[in-house]
Symmetry: C2
Subunit: 419 residues, 2 copies
């Protein structure tokens, strides 16, 4: 197959051991989101290009990274680069059918033609959670708390990560107090505060009547009174130590209207683990005013999270423990006497019908080799079918303890043990 | 958003209730595959076009339905239309790292630009399971048994579906006995036996020295001796009644070398539920002989299966029961006194930390409305935070039974109950 032996650059093969790690992350995300009363949704991988060309949705950067093409029906289509446009489309079409607030999450794959670098791939998985139909600080707190608990689920503590809180409303209040009228342009400049030289920024700020020093002063003050209600909510949940106020965060996308936040590893050595914010006007804008639902949402990608798990010993240990607890086979059926293969197949079927992960050798093999396979697959028990028939020998592999039971009582015996 | 309010034709939105049904099918597939000792893998959604242009892999029909295009790096790429080429690529690259046989499954989405009709979509999900490195009848039986148990998992019985078994080797033996040398061409004609008029088929068969009547005669005889070992294996597993010999099945793809099989609903009113077969030469051919692994595999799509579940009352009832057992909230926290909201938030966090799906009203609401929300979300319990504080009232919603406990003992009380 020559050059096609590898996946495309920026795309991943998931061999069984990779797929198990992916499953660990996906299962963790789903478990926590459901504890928060969020329900899962999804959309198509391919969407009409029109969905991404609308103003206020995807940023210009994302449009330049789209995988878009004409399909066989001459439609302009694109692989989804993010969830928000699909979510907005679906919510606007059917929001009347659901009680408010909507608490929806998704765990989907997205596609962006990005330059390759650490923490960035061209196909990645992202958890998204959106709470729609509630404009309160309580909803903000629910969203931030979910972000925290998603990360805690993987074993991370307040020493490992922090959620940085900011608020576009706090900025707009401040800027308007300073006489700035075009707050949108100034917010776009603030987004570049740590990436551009101060002189160039000051030149851009000059027409608006503020300086980099002014902005840094506001960031340093932190506007604590603005965040007091949210901090109070998080304190009541015991989650206060996971957050910090950091007004330097404004997020790139234009549609945010209030709270914005990002999760970082404490050493801040990596890209953001998660990020999101309140977008109270987006659904109204996209539906020409017919669906007015305030909303807050965030995304968490699998790539940076996976890197942080690998680099954090206690999180890595937790993952490895979870993976070891789900072996390829829980019970291995040993055919100790080939003339009993027929009976062994019946035993295998009984075990599987009872919900156990069971494997056996498809071909005649030495008993020692079969026990070796049992251990390699991570089995806890071996059920031996052979000379003792119509009895079975059940061996606990870790302790070498043995018990012999009549084969008709296997289903009974299994009930005393957990699959 | 005008015309972009809907998904592209042939693509699906998964609203929460659709996503729950999709999850029911995916979870069922995964559970059963794991019981059989199969481990999950996956590949990228986008692959190099080269992977599908190779001989012996995708059929010509699939190539004509590809979603292919040039990416921003001028690479010819395609959305995957099936799993086998990706699986073959991955296995050939790394098979040495794994013990044999490989038992790999996947639950992935695929893309084909098909004409729209019942049971066909342009993005669909397919379960695939491949057992590689074992050429025995035992492996054939393991693959057929897995197909049966996947369908049984959804509540289907032998009255609902049947696996039709055929074998290309039996056909080739018969055709060679009749002096046919170009068996491949005749197999392609057999594949059309039920779709083309007899005269046109006889005209095509004439150069090969056989007639439609000959072929129908062989199908009617059924070659029972050929299938005896497989039937014996399935009998030992108690699964014989789920299969029938039907030599009219040869499967469209050229790469099959032995057993081929398809699963149908008993009334045969739908397309095949699943289909597959043995492909002992494919991996060798694709690796230019460097990786010789005999293999058997099959696929099962989500669309026809979903239709059959919807149309089979006992399967539908089983699904609905499973979905009802996983409500959006298991415990609802009722804030009966707004001045206790802070304490209620602590209770919510305690419940979630203990693994319970918990929801509550983000805004002040009448107690009656909160109980109504609890029932709509499917909650079993309501924990009431109000006048009794520092005690909590726990109400079982179905029975209206109540218990009052000190709030500090909530974690203790939860341990006596299953999340």
């Amino acid at each position: 197959m020559g050059g096609s032996m590898r996946p495309l650059p920026g795309f991943r093969d998931f061999y069984p051991e990779d797929c198990a790690r992916r499953g660990y992350v996906l299962d963790g995300w789903r478990r926590v989101a459901r504890r928060y009363g969020f329900v899962e949704m999804d959309g198509p991988v391919l969407e009409s290009m029109e969905l991404y060309a609308k103003k206020n949705e995807s940023g210009a950067e994302i449009l330049g990274q789209l995988y878009n093409f004409k399909d066989r029906g001459e439609r302009d289509v694109a692989l989804r680069p993010e969830m928000t446009p699909t979510l907005a489309r679906m919510v606007i079409a059917r929001e009347r059918a659901y009680r408010k607030p909507l608490k929806w999450f998704s765990t989907s794959n997205f596609f962006r033609y990005e330059r390759q670098q650490k923490g960035r791939l061209r196909e990645f998985i992202q958890f998204n959670a959106d709470l729609m139909g509630d404009a309160s600080t309580a909803a903000d707190a629910e969203s931030v708390a979910l972000t925290i608990d998603l990360l805690r689920e993987f074993g991370f503590t307040k020493e490992d990560f922090v959620i940085r809180l900011s608020d576009r409303k706090a900025w707009i209040d401040y800027l308007q107090g300073r006489g700035v009228s075009d707050t949108k342009s100034v917010l776009a400049i603030i987004d570049k505060l740590e990436r551009e030289p101060e002189e160039s920024l000051d030149a851009k700020l000059a027409p608006h009547g503020v300086t980099v020093a002014d902005l840094r002063g506001f960031i340093a003050a932190g506007s604590p009174e603005h965040f007091a209600p949210l901090i109070e909510e998080l304190t009541a949940r015991g989650l206060k130590d996971f957050v910090e106020i950091d007004l330097s965060i404004v997020r790139g996308l234009a549609y945010y209207t209030g709270l914005v936040f990002e999760a970082f590893d404490r050493s801040k050595s990596m890209r953001a683990l998660a990020g999101g914010g309140r977008y109270d006007d987006l659904l109204g804008d996209l539906s020409d005013g017919s669906v007015k639902l305030p909303a807050i949402g965030f995304g968490m990608g699998d790539v940076v999270l996976g890197n942080l798990i690998e680099e954090t010993p206690h999180a890595l240990a937790k993952m490895e423990q979870a993976l070891a607890a789900a072996p390829a086979a829980e019970i291995y059926t040993v055919v100790a006497d080939e003339s009993r293969r027929r009976e062994a197949l019946g035993v295998v079927q009984t075990l599987r019908d009872a919900g156990w992960r069971t494997d056996f050798s498809l071909d005649a093999a030495k008993v020692g080799k079969q026990f070796q396979a049992a251990e390699q697959l991570g089995a806890r028990y071996a059920v031996v079918v052979g000379g003792e028939w119509p009895n079975l020998k059940i061996k606990t592999l870790a302790t070498r303890a043995e018990v012999t039971i009549p084969h008709e009582t296997l289903a009974e015996w299994l009930k005393t043990t957990q699959p």
